[in-house]
Amino acid sequence: MIAALLVMIVLALLLGLVLGYSALRFKVEGDPLVDKIDAILPQTQCGQCGYPGCKPYATAIASGEADINQCPPGGEPGMRALADLLGVEPKPLNAEHGEPKPKSTAVIDENLCIGCTLCIQACPVDAILGAAKHMHTVIASECTGCELCVAPCPVDCISMVPIPEKVSNWKWRYPVIELKQVA
């Protein structure tokens, strides 16, 4: 009896030591949950969720401050992925934060641009190229379509153009088939 007790105590102490040691030794840098949430968010950095970017929104979700249905660019699939990750019920997107739109990129009308650099300062991913008093242009492959550059432009020369469907980005459609009516 005593022996059994002793064995259990020694075992408990040993395991405790191992656990304590590994907690220190394999400490994870940063907040893994925030990173996991951030990995799901589309990184548009548009701020439609009400936070200044995707990472801040991820932080807010992790702390329970924000809901999972505030990201329009992520849309329904993004919300589902978040629900899946956090183990909560999926819910419809909150229309207050905007509607999902087809993915677009910003295009600067290069004849109108006055080179004021305001759009450069607004772009969260440095996708606009230009210098003071020189015409600016958008690097389409890096533009996330956040629309943040549209409002600051004093001459309204930035427009959002939906990405056209090409052979390179074409997708097979969901099959539309008639189902036989079962009487």
Binding site: L41, V125, T144, K166, N169, W170, K171, W172, I177, K180
Partner: protein, 539 residues
């Protein structure tokens, strides 16, 4: 010499319809006037344009050069003038236009200077580079650049080289005719491939419904400098799938998501071997291919067609389409797709054109719910669970579909073929696959955006700190040299004094020689101005 054969899982026996087109020899079609050459004719990067509108080019001249490792060049199929470079309809399931070069033939069909390659005297890397420039891609339908597959890989040496002459898809007979008529040239190509890969064993797999082709290949292989086996495999669709043929010939299974090289096997289509031979021994890049034209046409058969010829013209060469024909299918009935128009050009992937009609391919009856009979699972050559995949794809549960090895599906259509509920299963898999690939791409873009956003935030933070540091330095500096300031102030005062003195010395030139009356007037004005200035200062 025929070794034991193995069996792959599943498979179906659709009606073959091969006799219609297999009976007559390959016919060379008359040279068309206009050729439309899409830049994207292969898997991989779009090649870079090398010509401009108005250029005159010779037959075999490079029009667009391979860009990057996985890419292939495009060449002029005949001599003529480039009349436009623009977006035109291409033979693609999307029915969307893509960038094409349009060549107006001058009728001379004059070759650019070209010569054979002494491949055994060159380093292997140089031969592969040449193949890349020669536009050699897999002609079985996948159009993957061949030079990538012919690279020797120290980690996965290729022991067995398999040549695919199975041609399992119904209606198609282009490889059959090619093997019957040009077996010796295919064998020359196999020799080059064997040399490049250093393979110990070469096997040509041919389905047993093509005895003439098998015999021709056997005769040609006997004359070869290397031992090449010819194996007739049972006719069973899709026995010409690379992984299925490998299983039948070697008994080895290619693991899920892996390449055949991982088990020491590499597989090429016989037509690819033929083009390798044409390029290495004759210097001819891939500018034409053999195409089966069958279905509702007057004279079904096989044709040697320059790339870029329109399907409509090609069908004319086969006697024209029957009046009841409603459209054209590219590829076979199992894996092919409907062409968006008859004006699209023949490309490297065009192995077969079928003039379709409702009695040939009756429209699918309406689908019924899945009854979980599992016939699809029995027929699937990859041993997947099509009914589960269907369920996940239908409900857009894409991650789950991926977990059930959706990407191992070869889209052979066996499952749809046997399904008693007539569910178009493959359409669901294609949908799911392209959704997943698009999501993966979006994820990559998001990762890039995250990186750029983080970089920007870090930069802004750094600039802020730098500015703060500068301010701090300035403030500290101001205090440090008060003494210096005194000296500076003295210097400034001295400079100002000098300027004053200079000003005083200068006499306004234009007032010097004026009559006394005017002088007086000026003096008066000056006095008034002085008075006003003083007044201002007092205020």
């Amino acid at each position: 010499m025929i070794s034991t054969l193995f069996k792959f899982h599943g498979g179906v026996h659709p009606p073959e319809h091969k006799l219609e087109s297999a009976a007559t020899p390959i016919v060379e079609v008359p040279l068309p006037q206009r050729l439309v050459l899409p830049l994207r004719q292969h898997v991989g990067n779009v090649p870079k344009l090398q010509v401009a509108v108005g250029d005159h080019v010779l037959k075999g001249q490079l029009l667009a050069i391979a860009d990057g490792m996985i890419s292939a060049s495009v060449h002029a199929p005949t001599s003529g003038t480039i009349v436009s470079i623009d977006e035109q309809l291409i033979p693609h399931a999307s029915g969307l236009p893509d960038l094409c070069i349009t060549l107006q033939a001058d009728g001379e069909d004059r070759w650019v200077e070209h010569r054979a390659l002494e491949y055994r005297d060159l380093p292997k890397a140089a031969v592969l580079e040449a193949l890349r420039a020669g536009g050699v891609v897999g002609l079985g339908g996948a159009t993957f650049p061949s030079h990538v597959k012919l690279r020797e890989d120290a980690q996965h040496p290729v022991r067995t080289l398999i040549l695919n002459g199975a041609e399992c898809e119904p209606y198609i007979t282009c490889d059959d005719r090619l093997m019957r008529e040009r077996a010796d040239q295919i064998v020359r190509g196999i020799e080059i491939m064997q040399y490049l890969l250093g393979a110990e064993r070469c096997v040509v797999g041919i389905e047993d419904n093509k005895p003439e082709a098998a015999q021709a290949m056997r005769d040609a292989c006997r004359l070869s400098s290397i031992p090449i086996e010819v194996a007739t495999v049972p006719t069973l669709y899709p026995g010409g799938g690379a992984k299925q043929l490998i299983k039948v010939l070697t008994g080895l299974e290619v693991p899920s998501g892996k390449l055949p090289t991982e088990i020491g096997v590499q597989c090429f289509n016989v037509a690819t071997a033929y083009t390798v031979h044409r390029f290495i021994h004759h210097g001819e890049p891939v500018i034409s291919r053999v195409v089966t034209v069958t279905g509702k046409v007057a004279r079904p058969g096989n044709f040697e067609v320059p790339l870029g010829m329109s399907i409509a013209e090609l069908v004319q060469a086969a006697g024209g389409a029957a009046p009841e024909s409603t459209g054209f299918v590219m590829g076979g009935p199992m894996m092919g797709f409907n062409l968006p128009s008859a004006e699209v050009p023949v490309v490297k992937a065009t192995n077969c054109i079928i003039a379709s009609a409702p009695d040939l391919f009756p429209p699918l009856p309406p689908a019924m719910p899945c009854i979980r009979c599992a016939r699809c699972a029995d027929a699937c050559p990859v041993n997947l669970q099509p009914q589960e995949l269907y369920w996940f794809a239908k409900s857009s549960n894409l991650e789950k579909a991926r977990d059930y090895h959706l990407f191992d599906c070869i889209e052979c259509g066996c499952c749809s073929y046997v399904c008693p509920s007539r569910i178009p299963l493959v359409q669901y898999y294609r949908y799911a696959k392209s959704e997943i690939l698009a999501a993966d791409k979006a994820k990559q873009a998001a990762d890039l955006a995250r990186e750029r956003n983080e970089f920007r935030l870090a930069r802004i933070e750094r600039e802020k700190q730098e500015r703060a540091a500068k301010h701090a330095q300035k403030a500290a500096g101001a205090k440090a040299d008060v003494a210096g300031d005194e000296a500076k102030k003295a210097a400034i005062a001295a400079a100002m004094a000098r300027a004053q003195a200079q000003k005083a010395e200068v006499v306004p030139q234009n007032t010097a020689d004026l009559p006394p009356a005017v002088q007086e007037e000026i003096a008066g004005i000056d006095a008034r101005r002085e008075a006003v200035n003083e007044e201002k200062q007092e205020n």
